[in-house]
């Protein structure tokens, strides 16, 4: 990946690590990740609000799961976009829950379809959303893991090698 990193003229200070922009979970490729998370947050929020307001009685469990997914997507979006130590940790937890959620709900929606009469973001492994909900947590965890490797790697003594 030949990412070009023009150092921002307003940002750098002399003692800044050269790859400071790379270490932010919300910059570079992280922008795309944050954008996709934001989109799913929007989609899940819209869907769950609609489901709960318009026809909650039809499938309460599905709709509560939709709402849970919405909250998790919002937390992950904000966490990745803020990109400081604490918020990335919070995002990591959210993405892990998201991964477990999509796998469990995805499997259950096939195994016992009676329990899920109406769709959620996660049912059938996110089929209704082009399987993006299935792929996204893996990308998210990888991105956070890579971010951590970069941060800890460059804070140790030694030549600060950009890892790419």
């Amino acid at each position: 990946m030949s990412e070009r990193n023009t150092p921002r003229p307003d940002a750098p200070t002399p003692d800044d690590r050269p790859s400071a922009a790379d270490e932010h979970t919300g910059h570079g490729a992280g922008r795309l990740l944050v954008a996709v998370y934001g989109l799913l947050a929007l989609a899940a929020t819209g869907r769950s609000v609609l489901q709960i307001v318009e026809y909650f009685d039809r499938a309460p469990v599905s709709y509560l799961l939709s709402a849970l997914a919405a909250v998790i997507y919002i937390i992950a979006t904000v966490g990745l976009a803020r990109g400081n130590r604490t918020s990335v940790r919070v995002a990591a937890v959210a993405v892990t829950i998201e991964l477990i959620g999509v796998l469990v709900v995805g499997a259950l929606s096939y195994a016992m379809s009676d329990a899920f009469p109406d769709k959620t973001v996660w049912s059938h492994f996110g089929q209704g959303y082009g399987y993006v909900p299935l792929v996204l947590p893996f990308l998210g965890l990888w991105w956070i893991w890579r971010h951590r490797a970069l941060v800890t790697g460059s804070s140790m003594s030694g030549p600060p090698e950009p890892r790419r």
């Binding site: 030949s2 990412e3 070009r4 990193n5 023009t6 921002r8 922009a21 910059h27 570079g28 490729a29 992280g30 922008r31 795309l32 944050v34 954008a35 996709v36 934001g38 989109l39 929007l42 989609a43 819209g46 609609l50 307001v53 318009e54 026809y55």
Partner: protein, 120 residues
């Protein structure tokens, strides 16, 4: 729904996709054509919102109508956010975000048309 408008929006999305793809390929940042095309699409989406709201009574099923209206509003959010992100990002990922935004708007517009055609 106004089918010509939907088709025009889809074509404009394709143009934005090609422009962003070109910038991405050339490793360039956001420029005026990207912003202008995005603004044109956004205007068309606003027209679609007005027409869509005016005609939404034709959808009998309440839940379907609510979904339809929700989509009409949601699609307005995408491009301003993607352009904002693209302006802030100083790498080729900026154009990646715009590319994704164009695809999402096209999908949402197609979905709006689908809801309309299934329910009227």
């Amino acid at each position: 729904m106004l089918l010509p408008l939907t088709v025009a929006i889809l074509v404009a999305c394709a143009v934005l996709l090609l422009l962003a793809g070109h910038r991405l390929w050339r490793d360039r940042l956001i420029d005026d054509p990207i912003i202008v095309v995005s603004a044109v699409i956004e205007l068309a989406l606003l027209v679609q919102l007005v027409i869509g709201l005016a005609q939404s009574g034709a959808i009998q099923d309440g839940a379907e109508r609510a979904t339809y209206i929700a989509y009409l509003f949601t699609v307005l959010v995408v491009l301003p956010v993607t352009v904002f992100i693209a302006i802030k990002e100083r790498s080729r990922w900026a154009m990646g975000v715009v590319l994704g935004g164009a695809v999402v708007v096209a999908i949402l517009v197609a979905r709006i048309l689908q809801i309309w055609q299934l329910n009227v």
